[in-house]
Amino acid sequence: MSLLRQSRNILSNLKAKSLAKRLMHFKFEPDNPSTNLGPTENMNYLKALTNAMDISLENDPTAIIFGEDVAFGGVFRCTVGLREKYGSDRVFNTPLCEQGIVGFGIGAAVAGSTAIAEIQFADYILPAFDQIVNEAAKYRYRSGGLFECGKLTIRTPCGAVGHGALYHSQTPEAYFAHSTGLKVVIPRSPIQAKGLLLACIRDDNPCIFLEPKILYRAAEEEVPVGDYTLPLSQAEVLREGSDVTLIGYGTQIHVLKEVAELAAKDGISCEVIDLVTILPWDADTVCTSVSKTGRCVITHESPVTGGFAGEVAATIQKECFLNLEAPVERVCGYDTPFPHVLEPFFMPDKWRCLQAVKNVVNY
């Protein structure tokens, strides 16, 4: 290829990259890993996931990974290299059938194997809803613990990606939050993703592991290379503040961190909490914070009606009623399916969140 054409390609790639970055509705800032987790390596979100699965298959001979297209490495490259390393009986494609993937996974877990199922997009998890809600979530309860599928983990890419529209942008946490017996987890970063995936795989309850796909490459951190887990059902206070509590999860945490910075310029001190686990969720950390600040804004990409923010808001108003200085605010996707070119107008972006912060402070 001629030098001229090469340089033109490089330039157009650069333009495309920075255009994408300019259109991204958040800015990812890496966390510093805990010093006691040992040596680290620069990994993006998807490599952190691959690393977690690598560790799982290395240490647990029963562990298997399956789903659509996982054999060649997955459409998001999350399982690259694992089939070559562990063999085709442990990392394999299934037919294109989500109810089958989850049903198969439940059965493998019941029979004692660690089953890591991938659903290609969270938008397509719905055919498996019966298996997840009626079977996986209730297996232990209905058998009195004689049988259970705790060894099942279902991982799936979710969330807005800039151009995903109705069927490549959903985050279905609300449907599963209503299905007691499951654990639902949504990590905000590579360090979180690796530790939480290992925690879910090892947890003795069926877990739904939601991976905000826009973070796969956009989020890079120094991730500990060793084996570590992070606690489930523990919310994390990422930034301390005194005036208002901002509550969210996944990609939206990065939006909230920026909102806190913008609010600080107006003299508003924000506390930012990442719920991390949607079910069972850590109401204690949230309510302690809101009792202190007296104000809160809860935010998620999913539509507001029936969304998880409603659950958090109801609990907050009950536990913190006398401490509240303003009504609980929710900044969420509107009650519409997820639009394509109209995405910037649908999303609970930093400007809507900032406005909500000002509303509760000025109430």
Binding site: T62, G107, A111
Partner: protein, 440 residues
């Protein structure tokens, strides 16, 4: 050339492939049944995954409903073996256990059905007419084989040693039920007997059976999975998923369909348009057989062979057992509203699996008699009545158990809710049936 499967219980698939190769010199490009890492290629006429030759005649395949898949039979209606080569030559001991379990099942069903009618238990499902499907198949398996069932397979549990008190305790939802009365009656389960707890949604157990078989192939080779389901459940998407997964992933699973003619009030001819469930098997690449589900020895032979093939060749096998649901769907159903007494009488009196088997052991094997039969009925009744009287007296589980086994450990929110429930019930105890339960 048609893809005809030669049922030699050998290698019909590979035989067909080699036929194609030899006769037409075609390059087949399908995956072999076991993954050898051979990659499919697509060159010219060969589409990925399908060996084929081309025709110039425009002709549609008409499903041939005149030549339906035949029914494998060993015993005729008089209990005589039709073809001596098919006699499994079971010992008297096994035969008598088979018969006694069928009788006990019938008698237990009769008494529990009445118990529901009298308001002693909330719900019940009988197994009349399908005894041979349970006992014949269960006897052909090993105890370590894992069973996924639908809800009309109590005979399988009985064969494996589930006791009368265990059946009753689940139906009466009392403190001895391992699930602490959390499920409706007949939703049995037993870890010791490798019988996965029943759930109400239909066909959900099917892809689970495929997954369990896959896992056991890796961790416990020599262990098979059997999955029971009805012809109605076979219409669910989960059935399709199960067949496809088991076949593509080489899972050693027996899919055992009890085609009993009805899904509640829906007759089989409203359930499917093709040749039953068996005709679907080859579409998935599965070895398939249709058997007389009212013929205990035919069911036994087919299941035994299916198990052997499933394990030796790491592949699923589909058995469609043709039978008839003599009883109502459940105690919530009155089948006289949708079927004739004439039809019912035929299957109760003329083509009854228990009677056919009784004729075999009495007249052909001479190890049973009418006197023994009468004594057995009396013994069974006595045992069942003793068991249910005891089950009825036992307390129901503590209300606090509402919250257990949702997760492996009680999370914070459930601990809080349990506390709230206890406080509320203590403060308003007169409104709650506490006397029937163990303490709060």
């Amino acid at each position: 050339m048609s893809m005809r499967h030669f049922i030699k219980f050998g290698k019909p698939y590979l035989h067909t492939r080699s036929l194609l190769r030899g006769k037409y010199g075609l390059q087949t490009c399908t995956h072999v049944a076991k993954s050898t890492g051979v990659q499919p290629t697509s060159d010219g006429n060969n589409f990925i995954g399908i060996p084929h030759n081309c025709v110039t005649k425009l002709e549609f395949l008409e499903p041939k409903m005149e030549n339906t898949i035949p029914v494998y039979q060993v015993l005729d209606s008089d209990g005589k073996i039709i073809d001596e080569t098919q006699d499994p030559k079971l010992s008297d001991e096994i035969l008598l256990k088979m018969y006694k379990d069928m009788k006990m099942l019938n008698i237990m069903d009769g008494i529990m059905y009445s118990a529901q009618r009298q308001g002693r238990i909330s719900f019940y499902m009988t197994n009349y007419g399908e005894e041979a499907t349970h006992i014949g198949s269960a006897a052909a398996l090993e105890m370590r084989d894992l069973v996924f069932a639908q809800y009309r397979e109590a005979g399988v549990l009985m064969w494996r040693g589930f006791r009368l008190d265990q059946f009753m305790d689940q139906c009466y939802a009392n403190i001895n039920d391992p699930a602490s009365g959390k499920q409706m009656p007949v939703h049995y389960g037993s870890k010791d007997l490798n019988f996965v707890t029943i759930s109400s949604p239909l066909a959900t157990q099917m892809p689970q059976a495929a997954g369990a078989a896959y896992a056991l192939k890796r961790t416990n080779p020599g262990t098979c999975v059997i999955c029971y389901f009805g012809e109605g459940a076979a219409s669910e998407g989960d059935a399709h998923a199960a067949f496809n997964f088991a076949a593509t992933l080489d899972a050693p699973c027996i899919f055992f369909c009890r085609n009993n003619g009805y899904a509640i009030s829906t007759p089989a001819h409203e359930q499917y348009r093709g040749d039953g469930i068996a005709s679907r098997g080859s579409g998935y690449g599965m070895l398939t057989i249709r058997v007389d589900g009212n013929d205990t020895l035919a069911v036994y032979n087919a299941t035994r062979k299916a198990r052997q093939i499933a394990l030796e060749e790491s592949r699923p096998v589909l058995i469609e057992a043709m039978t008839y649901r003599v009883g109502d769907h459940s105690t919530s159903d009155d089948s006289s509203t949708y079927r004739t007494t004439g039809e019912l009488e035929y299957w109760t009196k003329t083509n009854n699996p228990v009677t056919r088997f009784e004729r075999y052991i009495t007249n052909q094997r001479n190890c049973w008699s009418a006197e023994e039969d009468e004594k057995l009925s009396k013994d069974c009744s006595k045992q069942v009545i003793e068991a249910f009287t005891a089950a009825e007296k036992r307390l129901k589980p503590s209300p606090s158990l509402v919250f257990t086994d949702v997760y492996d450990e009680l999370p914070v929110n459930l601990k809080e809710q349990q506390k709230q429930m206890r406080e509320h019930v203590s403060a308003h105890s007169q409104h709650y049936p506490l006397k029937r339960h163990e303490p709060l």
